[in-house]
């Protein structure tokens, strides 16, 4: 079988088998199930007070829902990863491997304490926590503004990705993944920022409409579905669809892994073939044998190699990502809300082990699959984004029901994007409705009014997102990189301070948030300026080789401590309520 498969893979990037009807059926299935989950969730919300039920699911989440949804960053992170393995080789294993500690950091650093404080104070959102802990409406307002800005940017970009997946699954569309010629907006990890597309949109609107018809239909269907079920079912709908797609993704990866290993008769053959292919591809491109050996060496090395010959992952960057995945996930606003909604501490404990199994079972096999892909399809070149769909179609085409299986695998990214949009949408809506409107505009608002306002705000956000994606903003990708770096740097230190440090002050927390966000933002801006001056593609400026998140976290920590020490501590009674327990003296 392997000879046949290798023969299929000529350097000319062969057309993969057609996606067939299976893909579109799987997408429709995803949509139907998600909407159904939305209506089930709505029935739960109906039975409770609106805010608690709609934004927090009445604090009733179990281990599966917490484990598989609370620390996963976004569908986009997951989707960019296979292409990286295919392109840069084994070094990507080092880039991603801090996921080995994510279950422990995600649920062991602050989760229990956050869950406790949120219960004691009745907090429903992350800004609620800051506000209540420090008795400071300002801390609440600033955190909610930061959250609203960053998450809106990240969410709006996802709409485009969702529409594109729809377009790909359309029978006969010819493309398989969110690739170069569409306006691409997968929120990729920081490192991949250079992928931002640079072409200009067409100006003749009739030909544009004809060309983009399927994209526009995809955008409409995607937006209606995701805004629809989130609006109906709120938090629980978002969490349940997230769980659904996580499980689908796991099954898909397992299936692909088994098929890929069967096709090659073991992993070592695949590895060796992949290395040989890299060397051969370099020779075919007219490189010298010496350069070709170097390319092969880079593929099996931790550092990898960029097209310009520079290392892809210098050790300082490897360190940066060992900080990024564990800590960015721990304090992401969408994740913290889910931790706040856990049923009890045993749920948090079980989540750690469940997620550990999940991460190990999904990331290590994915690396193997994508290395095997390099062996099977030697030179996808610019189409490396399509590595997983192409593997799925190629490996399943000889199986009975192959089209359906590959359909499910192709639909998984769609589910991932829906889940991300849905959870961000809720965080943004709760920020606007609760943290801004209820707190500052009209504290006396009734349950009924809040509900109407929430629906209105969500529909409004949906309309804005669709509007901005009809003719997508250029360099949206760049903005996404900005936002994810800033958001990750902004909240970790303040949250840890809030949980464990009696002496932390409101001013210190606010300063830590702003320092983290602004130093990450500043380094991104410098990167943009350099890209502009040298006419190269954008990448965040890595001061001394470290990613902005490392500097953001460091600045946030120093600023938070210094400012807290210099300002008046919060009222003793307020702190004591959250740090002490009164007991009868013996």
């Amino acid at each position: 079988m392997v000879e046949w498969l290798l023969a299929q893979a000529t350097p000319a990037i062969p057309d993969p088998p057609a996606a067939g009807i299976g893909a579109i059926v799987a997408l429709v299935l995803f949509i139907v199930v998600s909407v159904w989950l939305g209506t089930v969730a709505q029935r739960v919300v109906e039975r409770s007070q609106f805010i608690q039920g709609y934004f927090q699911g009445n604090r009733g989440l179990g281990a599966w829902t917490i484990a598989l949804t609370a620390t996963v960053q976004s569908g986009g992170t997951f989707m960019g990863f296979p292409s990286l393995v295919y392109t840069y080789g084994w070094g990507v294993a080092l880039w991603i491997c801090s996921y080995m500690v994510v279950p422990m950091t995600g649920f062991g650093l602050i989760a229990k304490r956050v869950a406790q404080i949120s219960r004691r104070t009745g907090a429903v959102t992350m800004p609620d926590l800051f506000r209540a802990r420090f008795g400071s409406p300002t801390a609440g307002l600033i955190s909610s503004l930061l959250i609203i800005v960053f998450m809106s940017i990240m969410m709006i970009a996802q709409f485009k990705a969702g529409a594109l997946v729809m377009k790909i699954a359309w029978p006969g569309s010819g493309t398989l993944a969110l690739s170069e010629d569409g306006p691409t907006a997968t929120p990729v990890p920081v490192e991949q920022a250079s992928a931002a597309s640079s072409e200009t949109p067409p100006r003749n609107w009739q030909s544009w409409l004809a060309r983009e018809k399927i994209y526009l239909i995809g955008l409409a269907v995607f937006s209606l579905t995701v805004v629809g079920y989130t609006l109906i079912g709120g938090f629980l709908a978002a969490v349940w669809t997230d769980l659904l797609q996580s499980v689908m993704m796991f099954l898909g990866v397992m299936l692909l892994f088994v098929l890929a290993m069967m096709a090659f008769g073991g992993f070592e053959r695949a590895s060796r073939q992949a290395i040989a292919n890299v060397e051969q591809a370099a020779l075919d491109q007219g490189k010298t044998p010496e350069q070709a050996r170097q390319a092969a060496s880079a593929f099996v090395s931790g550092n990898g190699q960029k097209p310009n010959g520079m290392p892809w992952l210098p050790v300082t960057m490897a360190f940066s990502f060992f900080c990024f995945w564990p800590f960015a996930g721990t304090a992401s606003p969408a994740g913290v809300v889910r931790v706040m909604a856990c049923k009890d501490t045993s749920v948090l404990r079980k989540s750690i082990f469940l997620l550990a199994i999940y991460n190990m079972g999904i990331y290590l096999p994915l690396i193997a699959i994508c290395i095997a892909a390099r062996a099977m399809m030697p030179d996808l070149g610019s189409k490396s984004d399509e590595v997983i769909p192409r593997m799925a179609l190629t490996l399943t085409q000889s199986l009975p029901l192959g089209s359906w299986l590959s359909g499910l695998i192709l639909a998984a990214p769609f589910g991932a994007i829906m889940a991300t949009v849905s959870s961000y949408l809720l965080v943004i809506a709760s920020g606007l409705v609760r943290d801004v409107y209820q707190r500052f505009v009209n504290p006396q608002v009734t349950d009924h009014e809040i509900r109407r306002l929430t629906y209105f705000v969500m529909a409004g956000i949906g309309i804005v997102a669709v509007g901005l994606n009809i003719d997508p903003v250029q360099h949206l990708q760049t903005l996404v990189v900005f936002s994810s770096g800033c958001a990750a740097s902004a909240f970790l230190i303040p949250t840890v301070m809030m949980c464990y440090w009696r002496g932390a002050t409101a001013a210190g927390t606010i300063a830590a948030m702003l320092a983290g966000a602004s130093s990450a933002f500043g380094l991104n801006m410098i990167g943009l300026l350099i890209a502009y001056r040298t006419q190269t593609s954008f990448a965040a400026y890595a001061l001394l080789g470290f990613d902005p998140i490392v500097w953001g976290l460091a600045m946030s920590l120093v600023t938070g401590i210094v400012v807290s020490l210099c300002t008046r501590p919060p009222e003793a009674a307020l702190v004591s309520k959250l740090f002490d327990r009164e007991e009868k003296a013996v």
Binding site: L94, C97, S98, M100, V101, P103, M104, T105, G108, L109, I110, K112, R113, Q116, R119, R120, T121, G122, V124, D128, G135, T138, F267, E268, A270, S297, V300, S301, G302, N303, V315, A318, F319, F322, D344, T345, L348, R349, K350, S351, F353, L355, A356, M360, L364, P443, Y500, T505, A507, T567, R568, P569, P570, F579, D580, R581, E582, E583, K584, A585
Partner: protein
């Protein structure tokens, strides 16, 4: 007569957080150290495979990942204590109303 104790949930979470952070430090040091020494600028000719995986990936990533997963089991079942999180309060119970002074900015 009542006496104030540090909240037991605070005590246990802080202890767990410190241990988890130390696990991160150890994992980070070992993985980056090992991979830097054995995995950077590798010559494919000297590369050996363990279970089909390049040697430095196997010892530098797969093994620590497996250990981390086992540690997660230990953390989940033995390190982290079950605590009573308390009843969820009404949302405004502890939150100062708008009329109250912030008093924390100095």
């Amino acid at each position: 007569m009542t006496q104030k104790h540090e909240d037991p949930v605070l005590v246990s979470s802080r202890r767990e957080a410190i241990i988890v952070f130390l696990i991160w430090v150890v994992a980070c040091t070992y993985v980056l150290g090992f991979c830097y020494v054995f995995g950077y600028n590798r010559d494919p000719k000297t590369l050996t495979f363990v279970l089909g995986i390049p040697d430095w990936v196997f010892y530098g990533i797969v093994i620590p990942w497996t250990i981390s997963t086992l540690l997660s089991f230990w953390v989940a079942n033995f390190l982290i204590a079950d605590d009573d999180l308390g009843e969820a309060q009404e949302e405004t119970a502890l939150i100062p109303t708008a009329s109250k002074q912030e008093g924390t900015h100095g």
